[in-house]
Symmetry: C2
Subunit: 223 residues, 2 copies
DNA sequence: CCCCTTTGTGTTCAAAGTACACAGATAATT
DNA sequence: AATTATCTGTGTACTTTGAACACAAAGGGG
């Protein structure tokens, strides 16, 4: 194959939907475009992939450089190669989901002149540029499948958490309501979490027990 | 972003694991390398993606041009961007699974001088070039997840089929054995298939009833 | 001390999954 | 024509899992 032909040169961008839990709400991190086209619209963070790095490396570097975030749990989601997804250039997008706990999320860099960021509730997404709304939708759909077939939400709750917190996360992402007793029974009988012995103090009402995930993230049907 | 910089030019290849049922066996279509490096080793079919086509278009065209196969059911699986996956060039691979029924598979083009193909049982894969063994493994893993969460095997059995045939396909892909009565009950009570009224004649033993899938392919937990 | 809020807990019923054995239909054999 | 070999079709009891459901306990605030 003769790669000197320009037709085989493709531009690739990585795009990521980074989710976290902020005060009980599942949120996704978006960037605001400050220049045309789509000025003022929101986009998914990402970067252009160089040919001397893996897509994962690019993703990790982009997230750290632009957002200051480290240790984001990443999973590949989907590739979008429609010819019309950017009016100016032909760019292939590789989308990821990213999960980060609320403590690590605090280390997000302050907005620079050229970068404005915000966390949005996943049920309340603003106007997005290009086809990013579609990509985000696909990513949320992917996350939905993921949380019922693995304990991936460990990434949102790495340290101690309460069962109501975990349940709320599931409910928001799956867009359902669940019975507290059945939810609790599920997680405990599956042996996925363990009681730390501590309690959550300071909140309203009876203090909740604190749990932590026992195992590493792996595939396993939960629901 | 200044795309005139060469570092943003990436080479992309599409690679596909095409599965079919051949005399009750689940098989995958491989190509034999006729030149160095890896001469004599086997590879997944695919093509280099141009910047004026989608990856899906490239996949479909490659399959038809090199193999003569049409109407292969395709699903995106995974991207491999390791820097060391090809010793000579930096090529990013986008892998697909493809499903084709045994009748359509018969229209596979005869081997040309430069292309030698063969169907291999998925439990009996030959020596493969580059990282294609790893990619194929991932694709089979993907297929495994897919057949328990959707009726995607409809693509292997588009017209009439018998329940033992379908069961054998599941058993081979999942690498398990199942109870005939429970398997039958499952598919019938799920309402996924319907009795055509015909019977399979000519085989050994009691003729099996012929069924066909009622619905289009869609997500739905089966097992 | 009482009220408000939120968490923790057990049982009953329904549904789905699992295990299991024998009779029916055809082709091949005698 | 009868027998045998091979493969398919079928129902039931048991176990496990999922779903529905209400009240007591712990803490904070007035």
């Amino acid at each position: 194959m003769d790669f000197s032909l320009g037709k085989y040169y493709n531009i690739l961008e990585s795009l990521v939907s980074i989710f976290t839990i902020d005060q009980g709400e599942v949120k996704v991190l978006l960037l605001r475009k400050k220049s045309e086209p789509y000025r003022g619209y929101w986009i998914l963070p990402g970067g252009i992939v160089s040919n001397d790095e893996t897509i994962e490396m690019n993703m990790i570097d982009s997230i750290e450089a632009k957002l200051g975030l480290k240790d984001v749990y990443l999973e590949q989601c989907h590739i979008f190669s429609n010819l019309d997804r950017d009016p100016d250039d032909r760019i292939i997008a590789i989308s990821y989901i990213g999960l980060i706990d609320n403590v690590s999320a605090l280390f997000k860099r302050d907005d620079r002149d050229d970068i404005q960021t915000a966390w949005f509730k996943i049920g309340d997404i603003p106007k997005m540029a290009y086809d990013h709304a579609r990509i985000l939708k696909k990513n949320i759909e992917f996350l939905r499948k993921k949380i019922v077939s693995s304990n991936v939400l460990k990434s949102l709750f790495p340290s101690d958490f309460t069962l109501p917190e975990l349940q709320k996360a599931y409910e928001q992402i799956l867009n359902v309501t669940m019975d507290r007793r059945n939810f609790r029974k599920k997680f405990i009988t599956l042996g996925l979490i363990e009681d730390t012995g501590d309690k959550n103090v300071g909140g309203n009402g009876r203090p909740a027990k604190l749990y932590s995930f026992k195992d590493e993230i792996k595939e396993r049907n939960l629901f």
